[in-house]
Each structure stands twice: as structure tokens, then as C-alpha cells.
Amino acid sequence: MMPIRTLLANKARSFLTMLGVIIGVGAVIVIISVGAGAQSLILSQVKSLGTNIIGVLPGASNDNGPPATVMGIVITTLTYDDAMAIKKEIPNVVDVAAYSKGVATVSWQSNQYDTNLSGTTAGYMNVEGGEIDEGRFFTSEEEKNLSEVAVLGATVKDQLFGLSDPIGQKIKIKNHMFEVIGTMKKRGTVAFQDYDDQVFIPIMTMQKLIEGVNYIGMIRIKINNENNVQEAKDEITALLRERHNISDKSGASDDFTVRSSDQALSMITSITNALKYFLAAMAALSLIIGGIGIMNIMLISVRERTREIGLRKAVGAKTSNILNQFLIEAIAITALGGIIGIIVGVLISFLISVVAQSLGYSWDFIISLTSIILALAVSALVGLVFGLYPAYKASKLEPVEALRYE
């Protein structure tokens, strides 16, 4: 009763003191909520690519870590022939897309544009989905006979051609003239990959004419049914070991990694979780700054109210009464700040989800109970910890000294 009245009597100061806690708690709530929303968005996008995709990457990796190629290490063990062998020999395979990727400047007339160059197989459309806007994708003949043909992603088409019709035009990539045979419909960015900022060319053309290499970067295989994925993975692993002359069946000597999309899902989940909690922890740090603000104000308050403390002691307040009074004040101020922070955080999270949804993302508005309880508990703890010293100082004042204080 008494402490709350003091807080109300000093409204402006109480609010400013609370601001640190409000911002800290609000930030924790928003970060956890936005993190969860972004996570669900990424996962749903990955799922939309199909859960019946198997990826093969060069280089070994353990189950939990990322493949070596992600770190930028070039491994040359995987070949185009491996991809073709998988397509030919593994049952239940719908199609196979092999990739050799790079970046290049493409130009048409006076327009230039830096983009991603994807050398791939004719199976791309079957494996990855996507729609042709105009023209056609290249055929398996063109894939093998070093045809200089290109299919443009929507962004590349816009950048190079604007409103002009690109079909049949010649574009220049690394001193080779490619005929544009098709354009892709806009697909957007899915799971960190921008589908529209790409030029697709036949993989052999990419290897021989552009890069001058004979290895490939990745194979993606579409399986006819989700239930056959595990079996196909085992068969692909066995096939590649045979082709690469690896007799060790433990996997320790493998020079490739076979992953299915459910593995990718769980990996993305663990990465985004780590990111989310790391950011939340950073935000929680700001609560400590808020706590120091509270300690500061409480110390000033103790000094200003020295005579009041003296009087309270004179009329019979014990040391513990004074300690409790100031401690309750500090906890009340942080808890109230915490509650306001939660409300503000939830509101901001909601606004972000509304904006994201209006921009066309399938964004979920997620507020976990854990984050609210965590935020409240941390802010009350901050009040307790940072209120303790000023309260102790107040309680130890000698009544005579306190009464004499001017």
C-alpha cells in the first residue's frame, strides 16, 4: 500500500525508471515471437519444396553438422555421371537434377547484370517445380551437346530486357553467346534461395565452356513417394560407394553426403532455434541495464527520503520493515515495467505479423507462454537483485542520523 503510493506520487520518474525494463522485456518478447514466426515461415517454405527430395553433396559430413561445401570448400568427387547413374539405376526416382553453380555477368546489348549461373540438367523442372513463363526449358539433348541456350529467372529477365521480348535474343556470358529459349515465372525467395535471380544453362555447357571443370556441386533427386525416401537414400549411398570404390560400409570413408529434406528441416530448426535464443539472450542483457537504472533511482530515492526513513523508524519501523518497503518498491516498479513490456512486445509482434501477412508471407503470430513467464520472472529478479542494495542501505540508516539529515 505505502510503496505503491510513493510510486504513483512520482509518476514521471517511475515511468522513466520502468522504461529500461519495458524495452528489455518488450525486446525479448518481440525477438522470440518474430523468431518463431520466421522459423515457421522458413519451415513451411522448405516443406513446400517437397519432403520427397534427396540431396547429394560432395564431401563427408556427420549427421548434425553442415556439409563441407557449405563452408566454401571445393570438393571434386561428385560427377555428372554419378547423377545419371542414379537416374538410371535407382528405382522410384522421378527425376534427377545435377548442379554446377557459379556467378557471372550477363549482358544483352548495353545492359549488364550480375547474377547466379545455374548449370543444371533437363530434370530441373521435374525436381524443383517452378513454372515456365514464356518459351521452354532445355532438353536432355541440349543438356549433353554443349548447346548455348539459357533460361532466365524473372529478376534477370526484368533487369536485362525490361519490357522487351527476350525469347530468341542472344545474351553474352563469359564471352559465349547464349540464345534465350525461355523465361521462368516469378517464384520468390524460398529458404534463403532467390529462385528468380538465376540464369539456367545446360550443365555440360556450364562445366566445359564456362567453368572448365568436370565435377558438379550437388545432385537433387525427386522420389515418387515420401515412403520410399529412406530406401532410396540407402540405395543411392550404396551406388555411390560402388562407383567411388569405397568398401567401408560405416560411412566414415564416404566422399559424399546423402541427405533427405526431413533432415534439412531438423537442421534448419536447430539453427534458427539457436539464433532465436541467442538474440533473446542479447535482449535480456538490456534488462540488466534497466536494472542498473532502477538501482540508481532507488539510491536517489533512499537519499531523498532519508528523513522519512528516520521518521518511520522513530514511530516504530524495524530494520526489516524498511528493507521490505524499498524492496517491494523496486520489485513493483520492475514487475509493472515487465507487464507493460509484455503488452508492448505482444502488440509489436502482432503488428509485425500483420505487416508480414499483408506482404504475402505465410507468417504465424506466435507468442509462447514460456517467453512471457521468462520475461516476467527475469524482470522481477532484476528488481530484487538491483533493489536489494538500496533497500539494505535504507534499512541500515540510524534513526537519529536520518532525522537530522537536511
Binding site: A9, E308, L311, R312, A314, V315, G316, L403
Partner: protein, 239 residues
């Protein structure tokens, strides 16, 4: 039957950065229930120090002090707080009311720290009415006059029915008319059996009491009955 206050050879020295200052040296006296005593002396004489020790706000360096028969030296800080709450009322020169708080809430304050929490509101209203402030209950402490403030302070001192009231220069911040009103209330309380200990440097104010302890340089120099006592209630000399 022990007296209310028994003091034997009481001394107080302050040690400030190695320099010793003696505020009280070897003070002895008794005060019985129902007395109205003025402790009088010039500033620096030690009268405030004496009042603080008698009021259990401070501890003596040496000597014995029995309050209501209890040896104060042996009591813990919390036990002293309970005694201050239940047996002692203070009236200070600067009123010491809580700011931004109503008159009624100010008077309730000692009862929040009391074991006896029944009818806090009723008891506080009653004692405020007895000092003539029944019409000021919900005024804030900064909205009333100085004389009224001191009457609130007296009500606060009275609310837990203490054995003794210490009044430290209670008229020091008041005009003479308000001062007389305050003294009248203290005399009335004494007439009804309350023990009053008044601290002042003015002879005129001290003459409202029945007994004057004169203090100088930390020693009691005179302890005498007041022969011609001033009465604040009717026809005062100051009027």
C-alpha cells in the same frame, strides 16, 4: 514500583575521525509517570542528544538507562523499535509529516508498524478529532498550516497511546498563536495523565511545564519545580 525513566551517570561521546566530542557527561535523574518536564539549554548543550537517547533513537556510550524498568542497554534494535512504537510518541520541530500523503494516513503510520492493527481507521480519526482536526482528515499534509501540521504530528504521537511524549522544540517553526495552541494541547494531555518531555531553548516555552531540567555542556546544572507555571488555556502572557 520503578519510575518511567531512570538515568544513572549517562554519557555520550562522538568519535568523528579520531576527534572525541563529549555531548553528555554523567547525567542522572528520574522522571515519574504523569510529569511534564522541560529539558532546557542553549544549542550545543546536549539537550537534543539527551532527548534522542531517552527516546530510544540513539544509544548512550556509558551509564545506565531504565525505561519502564527495562534496561535499555540490553535491548536489540528491533526491541527498541517495538518500544518506540508502543510506548513513545515524538513531536518534532520540523513536523516530519510524509509528503503527498493525507492527514489521516500520516496519523495511521505508527499503527502499520504496531502489533495491534484493529480499527486503525477509527482510532486515527478519533485522535485527530481530539486535536481539533476532524475537518482536515483528507487534506494532504502540504495543504494545511504550520499549526495544523504540528497538531497532526501530535495526533500521530498519540495514536498508539504511548507512555510518554517527546516534543523537540515543538513551537520552533510556529507563529506565537499556533505555538500557544500546541502548548495548550500538551498541557491538556498532561492534565489527563500523559507524561510529556519537552525540549526547548526558550525559558518562556519551558515555563509551560511543571519541572525544568537545565542542561549546559552536557551536564544537568539545575533541576527545579516551576513556581509560576504558564497556562496556555486561559489568559496567557504572550497574548
Amino acid at each position: 514500583m520503578p519510575g518511567l525513566i531512570q538515568v544513572n551517570n549517562l554519557s555520550k561521546t562522538y568519535d568523528s575521525e579520531g576527534v572525541k566530542t563529549t555531548a553528555l557527561s554523567g547525567v542522572s535523574f528520574n522522571i515519574e509517570k504523569g510529569e511534564f518536564v522541560a529539558i532546557m539549554g542553549p544549542s550545543g548543550s546536549g539537550k537534543s542528544t539527551l532527548m534522542h537517547i531517552l527516546g530510544l533513537l540513539d544509544r548512550a556510550s556509558e551509564g545506565e538507562y531504565f525505561f519502564e524498568g527495562k534496561n535499555v542497554v540490553e535491548l536489540s534494535d528491533d526491541e527498541l523499535a517495538v518500544l518506540r512504537n508502543e510506548s513513545i510518541g515524538f513531536v518534532f520541530q520540523a513536523f516530519n509529516l510524509l509528503p503527498r500523503t493525507t492527514v489521516l494516513e500520516n496519523v495511521k503510520l505508527p499503527l502499520f508498524y504496531s502489533k495491534d492493527k484493529k480499527d486503525i481507521d477509527g482510532r486515527s480519526r478519533k485522535v485527530l478529532e481530539s486535536v481539533g482536526l476532524g475537518h482536515r482528515l483528507n487534506f494532504f499534509s502540504n495543504q494545511i498550516s504550520g499549526g495544523e501540521k504540528q497538531r497532526v504530528a501530535i495526533a500521530r504521537a498519540l495514536v498508539n497511546e504511548p507512555s510518554v511524549i517527546f516534543a523537540d522544540e515543538p513551537t520552533g517553526n510556529l507563529d506565537s498563536k499556533s505555538g500557544i495552541q500546541v502548548m495548550e494541547i500538551l498541557q491538556n494531555l498532561n492534565d489527563h495523565g500523559n507524561t510529556i518531555i519537552l525540549v526547548t531553548h526558550e525559558t518562556q516555552t519551558a515555563e509551560y511545564s511543571k519541572r525544568i531540567l537545565r542542561i549546559m555542556d552536557g551536564k544537568i546544572v539545575n533541576d527545579e519545580r516551576v513556581e509560576r507555571r504558564r497556562l496556555a488555556g486561559d489568559g496567557d502572557l504572550l497574548k
